[in-house]
Symmetry: C2
Subunit: 914 residues, 2 copies
């Protein structure tokens, strides 16, 4: 908490700072004195942006006001009169002028933004005389009286204190407005006539008289003094005090008061109002793009009452409408100049609201414009070429998630679509296909050339093959990190999960959704649907698709990111195909190769089941002997695809029952392989049931009870590595032990794996280098990371499981209450999507610190789903990770995010140095 | 890690320290110089204990030995000769004397115990001549030659280096021994004759000659120098180096070498050997209790070859055997004197091994004697009365777990029993009853007056009523903290869990166990079995029971503990009966009242199910309206039973599906109550399925989605409290929100509960004080405990769930691999029984520190199963907890443990001050 040095609070320097007309007394650095708003307006005015003129009363005056017992210090009124005179001169209107009345806004402004905490008065300067002038000049009496009645109510509430103390009590102005609508038999404010509004103004003034015993002040000057005092007072209102206390802002900062001319785009045909982007927000081209309306208010552009006209001739030509450039070259030139200045100042594409009042351009608001992924990379690259920003700054302008738009096929949103349900957009992309309800059907239909969408209540590892041949996956349960979501992202498949509206009837081979206003809609097997994996929309029928074309700027941006980043980026990949795809996307290794994903091939699952259901070690070894050559072949493929790069292979992780036979036929097959009867197999399957499989017999725990499983996997890895090395392929296997929570577990497994590896190396006669490390995915592992690190060459934080255990939250079950948490604001976001820094992140930091305390060069990575989430990548960068690993399609996003994290450091270091 | 200052390693002071004959050069404080063993022998000798005499060569000599390149420093041999002369004088035998040979042991001894790491030589001094003397004096030629062949082999291995390098290679002496047995056609070593053994000695010497080219040294002096050098060398053997490195002990500590006379109890009828306790180990009475054999070796007493004789006349009279006291009053007096000295020295009951050689008593070993719980409290109290120890020291002598023996009925172990299986002794006690296989049968049989044992594969909350009417519970699955175990301990019921040998056939109403050597044994419904909840033994038939009678010393011990302890002790109790029982055991409040345990009454479960399966809030509120008066009655009962003491009531915690109907009839009942059809109920039941219920929709998460549940519970609590207060009962309700992981959760719930409470208080017109706190049972809660604490009046660490989440380990599933972890030494003990300090404890410390950092007087307790575990109570004391809470029957154990933790501090402070 900062606190100002003690000083005489009544001592005040210059009280009023003018701005407008390309000049300003203050500048952007004077936030403490002028507030954030006043300083910003001064700065814009100073660099030639035509902002409506005005003046700012300093925070010192505010403090003096309080020190004097809520009195204005001497000299303030004179200074303010000089300020109003400056505004009058600049806009060519008069404060209280019956013909051409200047109206002003009076706003608060502290050195930091305190949104909504303090008061504002708009349209100040209106009275029964000036309202006529406004009506005449605007040619819109209704508009004039609507402004007037709003002003009286706002002034009554804010300045005169008519606002009820409790939100439960009725606002007297609202009451009268409602009564008037009732009397007129209309529903909306906009249905009231100018005469109605005029009558309301009288009623408003009457209620003020009645309640407070004072007349509403008609004198604009009296209005102004009242409003300035009220804004000062609002610095000490209870909600402002509470807000400051919450953020630790001291009370002696005070607020500034900015008085600024109101401008109107509806005072005649020499008036207009519009919105313009300084570059094209969809393509990024450097040209103005926007629209405007002649003689209109700002709301009219948005409301779509009249068709707006384009800004440029080019857009005019294509839309067959007169453009600003064509019809008003001067206005256009002014706008171009203002846009240029704004871009020069902010070094970014701006989204600008402007008003032309009687031929004069005013900029009302400017902000960085929203843009597509394509425009994002082009604009940033262009700005670098224009020397407006550095490459590091260009990186910081990127929103990495938007790369998705560039990398996936997308729907042509200009074509018609019929959305029937919405779920979690779990894996981006656009998929169109015929609905099937089982992995078997998916495989069969795909085999005959059909595009299919696999629809399931949820998916399980047995569905993986079916998923891999589908265009997209749709599930009724599960969230953004459910099995379906994780596997789909790994495959780059479009996927929507947690679509609770789906009532799936497997038996009837159909699903039903209730669409509001349309009743139940049934989709049967073979019907075509479209899935938008970004928005989560499920659409009936085939929506048209468009192919991605990567812009040249994409490659430039990625090369800057790669140049800047310290974090390596690897991919999670389980097959040579995935590995090759990841490599194409720039992956620098495999951070997570899940060996269990290799177990579901038709030729393998029987041997795996035989292993699981064997009654003793000999039986397991017999089955493992069948699995060994298959796994060796798997590892051979993936190590070869990643030649020259490290491949982290995780030994078997999930609870064994995930592989169990469920169908009668499968059970019979296993019984035959084991030479026991079906009842015995059923008994063993039953015995493997777990109450909480996520917390059960899995990972290293399998290896403690059945050492032969990891021994076989280690043998397959090292045999594959030796064979490749002998054939001249550069291999870098990293063997990873999952679910370690005890030092003793890793110590024992490291010894076992090393023994196997050295035996294979001796047998094969080829030395390969390999490392042995562990997943850190349990809170306990973080707490004892220093001990675990003595047996580890690397740590890979498994943030999926670490999030589950830290929160005590099963991601498969969270969909029942997590949405309520997000909705009620209890959690800012899904912690399975963006790493929870406060809890999980704190544990990770402990883990990294403890690990490096005994093993300073410990390699540290992350292989949870968070490895591809930009905010989480930033966390990993800051926590000193060596690499992140994510699904192949997110590799570019992770590269960009990692580059941004490094660029942020550079920029921050430079700004400190500067 | 301590490390000695650098010094000239060859500089040596006094080399040899004599002991024996009531004197010693050294004392018990000289461990660094004499090693732990040498210092201990010196101390015993000094206080008049007749230990076999000997001398210790210092660790300085060891260091000098290394500094000189494995040479003895000058003067060592002279000093050792003087030492041997001292031993000869003291025992009246001669080293190398053909008639009366002195034999010695040569042992290593570092300043800390390094068990098995270094070498030892026994029976040194034997050769072809002295063996004859030994044979003659012992009258047992076989014994003499057996000692000789052992000596030759041991010397050959340790000193001459015959021991094979790898354990896989055959030991040459073992080979010859095996060959001899083969030749003689015998199975055991003991079947070989003196002549055979003599022949073996020759063969052993021959193989040494053959392998090493040296003669076995017959000269006792040469033997001695060899053995001393070998012991020095063993300080640097690889396993000793590895051991030191593991514990961080520096290599320059060195080892001492102790040379001590061997004494024999079988050299004639003036010899004997025996074991004696200085007080009765079962009753604690102050009198010798033990047995001995005349003219025998120590092993003979244990082997049961001859019937040993009692020590005292009293025991002699009752066993009709001649006693030492009666037959050899002098020997008895010597023994009494030695025992008195040992008790005076160690201030505790000793378990002593002694040998009388030619009329002379030698104490071979003494240690604190094992005792029953009854003897434990009596002996400690007596020692206080005898002014031997303080009350604090008496407390530190207690093993709190042993109080169980005093508090529960136990089996009469003198009667016959037939153990057919063994499981986890999950809740102590002794139970006898007829086997039933369902809670319903248990209730029905108990209703007609039968004692029953409920046997289940596992139990679920629906079994609670059946458990409460059973004598004991036996389950095939689950560990010491499974549902069955937790509930049984809460009820004080005997329970054995995880008895994997049980093959339960519910349909056939029987279980089968395979007993080694006896084949399958089947127990049918109605058969009587007995359960020992302490040992985990399952016995066929009814084993006789004995009632507990609390000794007066128990109450004294508890009053000392209560006087010493800072920790409050509360109980986990869910009913007024449990609460009253806990209060009788000294509980100072309820630390955990589980409201869900109240939901299983026959009159309630339907309303609970109706609530869970309602389709909307209105439906839930309708069902909750039925539940409200029942819960109010529950809370009324428990608050009344605990009048004047705090009662922490946990709002609903478990996943809702635990309450779901399973049987067709139950489903029909719920459907009728809800007014929907059965299929709809089945659909909703299915929809509530969770993959990992432990990590699912439970605790505060239920309240976030269905606020009305906690609102109703809070209303019931405060209504009950108001009613009691109005009736003059002092109530202290503490409302506890479970499964909190986010600050926002507790903030929201605190506001909701407070609103309900204040409303009730206003309605009832009676102000009651209540507090609101939370369980800390998730790692995330520990990491953000400072934020959570701003909304909490108290923290209660739920160490069951915290252990589950920290380890990522479901206690319901852990029985499949946790036993392997304990067996393989990966985990020292079950972390659900004794708190894991390294991981879970570290998180708890973070939680307490963070919580108290913002809320210094935050009340902190524990309500997991660990609250009654002595080591865990100690942890809680050290971590600054305010209280522990445990099941009622463990309250005395927790009180005692808490007293011990405080006493340990006192004693440690005094020893520092002293």
């Amino acid at each position: 908490m900062t606190s100002a040095p003690s000083q005489d609070p009544a001592a005040v320097g210059k009280m009023v700072y003018l701005f407008g007309n390309g000049q300003a007394d203050g500048d952007g650095n004077m936030k403490n004195l002028l507030g954030g708003k006043g300083a910003g307006l001064a700065e814009m005015s100073r660099v030639g942006i035509p902002v409506p003129p005005g003046f700012t009363i300093t925070t010192e005056v505010c403090n003096s006001f309080y020190a004097l017992g809520s009195q204005n210090p001497d000299g303030l009124e004179d200074a303010a009169r000089a300020g109003i005179a400056h505004v009058e001169r600049t806009v060519g209107m008069g404060f209280g002028d019956p013909e051409n009345p200047l109206l002003v806004s009076v706003r608060s402004g502290a050195r930091v933004s305190m949104p909504g905490m303090m008061d504002t008065v708009l349209n100040l300067g209106l009275n029964d005389i000036t309202v006529a002038g406004l009506a005449k000049r605007s040619g819109d009496e209704r508009f004039a009286f609507d402004s007037y009645r709003r002003f009286v109510a706002m002034y009554g509430d804010v300045v005169l204190g008519m606002k009820p103390e409790s939100a439960k009590d009725a606002d007297p102005f609202e009451e009268r407005l409602e009564a008037m609508k009732h009397k007129r038999g209309v529903e909306f404010d906009t249905d009231l006539s100018a005469a109605d509004l005029k009558e309301l103004v009288s009623e408003f003034k009457a209620v003020i008289k009645e309640r407070l015993g004072v007349e509403f002040p008609d004198d604009p000057w009296q209005q102004l003094w009242g409003a300035v005092g009220a804004v000062f007072q609002s610095w000490q209102n209870p909600r402002a005090i509470a807000y400051r206390s919450m953020y630790g802002y001291p009370g002696n900062w005070g607020t500034a008061v900015t008085v600024q001319a109101m401008v109107f785009g509806n005072l005649g045909d020499d008036c207009a109002t519009g919105v313009v982007f300084t570059r094209h927000p969809a393509t990024g081209e450097r040209r103005l793009y926007g629209e405007y309306l002649v003689n209109a208010q700002g709301e009219d552009v948005v409301a779509g009452v009249r068709t707006p006209q384009p800004i440029t001739k080019e857009d005019g030509a294509s839309s067959n409408l007169p453009s600003l450039e064509g019809t008003n070259p001067t206005g256009h030139n002014d706008l171009v100049e203002a846009c240029n200045r704004l871009e020069d100042h902010f070094h970014d594409m701006q989204d600008i609201e402007f008003t032309v009042q009687q031929g004069r351009l005013w900029i009302l608001q400017t902000r960085s414009g929203k843009r597509t992924g394509r425009a994002m990379v082009k604009i940033a690259a262009d700005l670098v070429d224009e020397k407006q920003i550095t490459e590091a700054e260009a990186l910081l302008r990127q929103e990495p998630e938007k790369l998705d738009e560039l990398l996936h096929q997308t729907f042509d949103r200009s074509s018609a679509s019929d959305t029937i349900a919405r779920g979690v957009g779990a894996s981006p992309g656009a998929a169109v296909g015929k609905v099937v309800f089982s992995a078997e059907d998916a495989a069969a239909w795909a085999a005959r050339g059909e595009d299919v969408i696999l629809v399931r209540i949820e998916t399980s590892p047995e569905d993986v093959v079916g998923m891999s041949v589908s265009q997209g996956i749709l599930t009724a349960r599960g969230g953004a990190t459910s099995h379906a979501a994780v596997v789909a992202r790994g495959m780059g498949k479009t996927c929507i999960t947690g679509c609770g509206a789906l009532q799936i009837d497997y038996h009837g081979e159909r699903f039903t959704v209730n669409v509001a206003g349309r009743g139940p809609i049934t989709i049967r097997q073979g019907d075509v649907i479209s899935l938008d994996g970004t928005t989560g929309e499920v659409m009936r029928g085939a929506v048209a698709l468009v192919d991605p074309v990567l812009p040249a700027e994409y490659e430039r941006m990625m090369s800057w990111a790669d140049g800047a980043r310290r974090l390596k980026v690897r991919a999670n990949a389980d097959t040579p195909e995935d590995a090759a795809r990841a490599r194409a996307f720039g992956a620098e290794g495999i951070g997570l190769c899940r060996t269990e994903h290799m177990f579901f091939g038709k030729d393998r699952i029987l041997a795996v089941r035989q292993m699981i259901l064997a009654s003793d070690e000999a039986g397991r070894r017999e089955a493992l002997a069948k699995i060994l050559p298959m796994q060796r072949e798997d590892f051979n493929g993936i190590l070869k695809a990643m030649a020259g790069l490290p491949v982290t292979i995780r030994l078997l992780d999930p609870p064994l029952h995930e592989f169990l036979p469920q169908q009668a036929e499968e059970i019979a097959d296993v019984a035959a392989a084991l030479g026991v009867d079906r009842a015995e197999v059923e008994r063993r399957v039953e015995a493997l049931h777990e109450f909480n499989p996520m917390l059960g017999h899995r990972g290293v725990r399998l290896a403690i009870t059945y050492p032969e499983i990891y021994e076989t996997q280690a043998q397959a890895i090292i045999e594959a590595a030796c064979d490749l090395k002998a054939a001249g392929v550069d291999v870098m296997p990293e063997i990873m032990i999952p679910i370690v929570g005890l030092e003793a577990e890793l110590k024992q497994l490291r010894a076992q794996v090393t023994e196997v590896a050295e035996r294979v190396i001796a047998q094969r006669g080829t030395r390969v280098d390999y490392t042995i490390g562990t997943m850190i995915e349990l809170p306990r592992a973080c707490m004892v990371a220093d001990k675990i690190a003595t047996h580890a060459d690397f740590f890979s934080f498994g943030t999926n499981d670490l999030t589950q255990t830290t929160f005590g939250l099963s991601r498969d079950d969270a969909s029942r209450f997590l949405p309520a948490y997000i909705e009620q604001g209890l959690l800012p976001r899904d912690p399975f999507v963006e790493l929870d820094r406060e809890g999980v992140g704190a544990l990770i930091k402990i883990g990294v610190e403890k690990g490096r305390s005994v093993h300073p060069d410990l390699k540290v990575g992350i292989c949870g789903e968070h490895g591809g989430n930009p905010a989480s990548v930033e966390f990993c960068h800051n926590a000193g990770f060596s690499y992140v690993s994510c699904s192949p399609y997110r590799v570019p996003i992770a590269r960009l995010s990692a580059g941004m994290a490094a660029a942020a450091e550079q920029v921050s270091a430079m700004s400190l140095a500067g």
